[in-house]
Subunit: 279 residues, 4 copies
């Protein structure tokens, strides 16, 4: 008998008349009280719903009744809300990693950091302060596939639900990405889709922009092209060099990444084509 005070039900499937009615009917008959309900129907006719409710219930019985009541093709997740297990990938920059470590240390991340993977050992001293395993997997003298092979073996130990690229400056192969569909989250240091690819702050400086930004997104196999979860921006002016923009940008990057992770880890993000739906 699940007995926590707050439960979450997630639904995803083709739109149909009566979906909200059918689901809320099952909950009502189980004497469960809805605290918050949010739904979205995409232009292509896909239905997404996230329901928070209170009460005591039998997990299996509730799911069974829901599936019987709903049309086929609807996917349900009951009560996924708990801490996610993640592995964080970094290269040399510390700001996003440090932000995650501090939040983790004070139980504010909604996730457990199982390990940190890096192609440099630069950040090992920082990670060790927090008692988390650090795996240094250099890319030097290895093909991309060879390095990823080592990483995959490491990940096999931890079985993380999500990989968080917290300024990991290597492009992942399609094969690697395919292992983790919609489970890799990246922070890109620009306001996508502006300045795709390398050196975005250099590009931003050369273009003379007056605002810089950062974008947290799921990784798919088109470079910097997966569904965007969160973005934020900051004003700059002509006195900012490319290096100044990079410095200012770090504050935006780490906060945007944290906000995106909070949404994902609280099961508030659905994926609809190349768009992220935040309920």
């Amino acid at each position: 008998m699940a007995d926590l005070s707050k439960h979450i039900l997630l639904m995803d499937g083709p739109d149909n008349k009566g979906l909200i009615y059918h689901v809320t009917g099952v909950l009502f008959r189980h004497d469960l009280n809805i605290i918050h309900n949010d739904e979205y129907v995409s232009p292509s006719g896909r239905f997404f719903m996230r329901t928070e409710f209170e009460g005591t219930y039998d997990n299996e019985a509730l799911l069974k009744e829901l599936y019987m009541t709903l049309p086929t093709g609807i996917s349900l997740r009951l009560n996924p809300k708990r801490k996610k297990n993640i592995v964080v990938f970094v290269t040399k920059e510390h700001h996003c990693l440090a932000e995650l470590l501090i939040r983790y240390a004070f139980d504010e991340l909604d996730a457990d950091i199982l390990a940190v993977v890096s192609n440099y050992n630069t950040l090992q001293p920082l990670v060790s302060k927090f008692g988390i395993p650090f795996h240094y997997v250099s890319h030097e003298g290895k093909t991309r596939e060879e390095q990823e092979e080592v990483i995959l073996k490491t990940l096999a130990i931890y079985e993380p639900e999500y990989l968080v690229l917290a300024k990991y400056m290597r492009v992942l192969t399609p094969s690697f990405v395919d292992h983790f569909p919609n489970r890799i989250i990246n922070i890109h240091h620009s306001f996508l889709p502006a300045f795709i690819g390398a050196n975005p702050y250099r590009q931003a400086y050369d273009r003379g922009v007056k605002i810089i930004g950062a974008t947290a997104h799921f990784v798919n196999n088109d470079l910097d092209e997966g569904p965007i979860i969160a973005q934020n921006v900051k004003e700059v002016d002509h006195r900012h060099s490319a290096a100044d923009m990079a410095t200012e940008g770090k504050d935006v990057e780490k906060i945007v990444l944290s906000q995106a992770l909070k949404l994902v880890f609280n099961d508030r993000v659905f994926i609809s084509g190349n768009r992220a739906i935040v309920l």
Copy 2:
């Protein structure tokens, strides 16, 4: 037979188990399809819901069935969505009024401006360009009550649903406000509750703030204290004089007022105590 493509149902009352279920059941039995549904339960246990749905139905029959299905104490509004009738109040500043006139002229206001009332005749030439009646009701040589008496008689001609104070620089009497409960919307030229009262930009300058703002709110009988509908801000620095801040602030004021009116006129705003709920 109502036959528009999109309908709105608004609910407001004490929270109870099954409210969403009961309402969506009635809609389902009438073969109506919910496009968007948003609800909120306040900490004090009040339930608010806004439902957009599609289909053809008999207005009276639907409302009757809803009232029979729901517990007593729930207030319903079916399909209030249409243009609101408003009267705009101004003093001498044109920026908010001009914004509303332009939007009205191009059918972007979701309201009809029936008339403009002012305690000065400064803006009469602007209003006349748009073919709208302008009522100059000077406050000179009159008590507050006497001036408001004239205004009330003018309003009686138009029977507006909302009064919009678009930089009307007179404080209304409690008696006047009581005629229009939750139907008067004001734009205050500060980020409330900072700088309540007169000369907020002067106050902001003296305090050396780095950000200024504007607040659109319902008017009740505590000065600058009604439910806040929308707010926005803008960065300033030490080079901005109080006059510069006022100039910069105008751009914020007119946009915030327009955004707040859009929410109200689209029936997306509920009032819960001194807080505005935007669904």
Copy 3:
């Protein structure tokens, strides 16, 4: 004898030791008081300075002494501050044009709108309310060059200092742009360099962005590539359709364009390569 209370001196040229010293020395010997002085040296070694000062002086004598004191290659503009003459270009959308007309009508634009040019007659009624000439130059049945020829003849009457493209949806030919170097200002309905070209809100929707923006920039002969003067942004979410984003974006566009024009018309913008320096 110029005798206004506040004067402006603009300098632009190769950097050299002592430039500020030499200029301020000339002003000091003429008993003039500097109120505000701002300068910038670009990474490529170009010096830009904008000086506001008070006092009475002989224009010719002051300029002569400045040129004698400064190294060759420095360009000076003394006291350009006054209203600029502009012609506004539009197509069918009214929001930016209306913003400029209202500001002009209330003497807040720092410019005189001499005329409005459009490839449609849609906005003629709006323009006529403000007593400004409207030139309808259709592009139908004409080559781009033929249409521009007609426009150039119209502009020859007015001799405007700046052309403002307030949602003019035609790409100008290089030959036309060459007539007005750094004198054409455009508002682009996206956060450049994201979504260059047509239908940026459609592109933004398809990409699932969480923030939209607008960019005011000088026009050169690379599409959407001239120096950026001002940018601003607004949050959106998955519920915004492409049309909703366009509606929300209009508020950003008109304010950004107005802010950029204010900077340009107050002689606060210098051009350094493809970057705009705002002093």
Copy 4:
């Protein structure tokens, strides 16, 4: 012989004709090249200037010549730019402290954290990770003056230039504040001057605001009233409880505090009455 590549000269005093000319003349005669010069004259006639320049010079000779050339009453600081020494004060919340510790650990703070002082021992484990002395000075069973007496003795060991109140939830006595004029910086968890005093997020929730903020300011002897250095804000809505607002607000607080400290530690902040001038 000072020989660093970039030097800073700060000036502060009554405005006078020729001040910029006189200073830049001295620099020119010493063959020094100004990279950036920014000045401000307050409405009350006070002159502030910050000059960055390059070159080699004799410190004493330069200062002497500057003082001889300038009118009396001008205060000069030559080349203060170096790391500041600071002591950080905290209570139980970690987010601002952690932000400073991480920046310090990666040499991004422009300051050395000599010690952390707290009225609780909650954050000792965090501080110890970074090898910084932690002084637990409980207020229990002590008068305010007694507790501050202990703190003052501790500070006497370190002789810090600045005290940073990184969520220190005790009001300091006027006597304590007088020991550190314009040298105590506080982060206040609201958009001052809204919600002065305790529980600002509770106040913000009750008032139903749509934007929350944070303010970094110098501490003087009027509660929450010293010169404001930096402010920032974040949108909230009716779904945010007071606790949610507090959580969201933490991200704003720590970034605003860091930005304010960067300005102060880089000698870019002057104080003019109750206003902070950022050059």
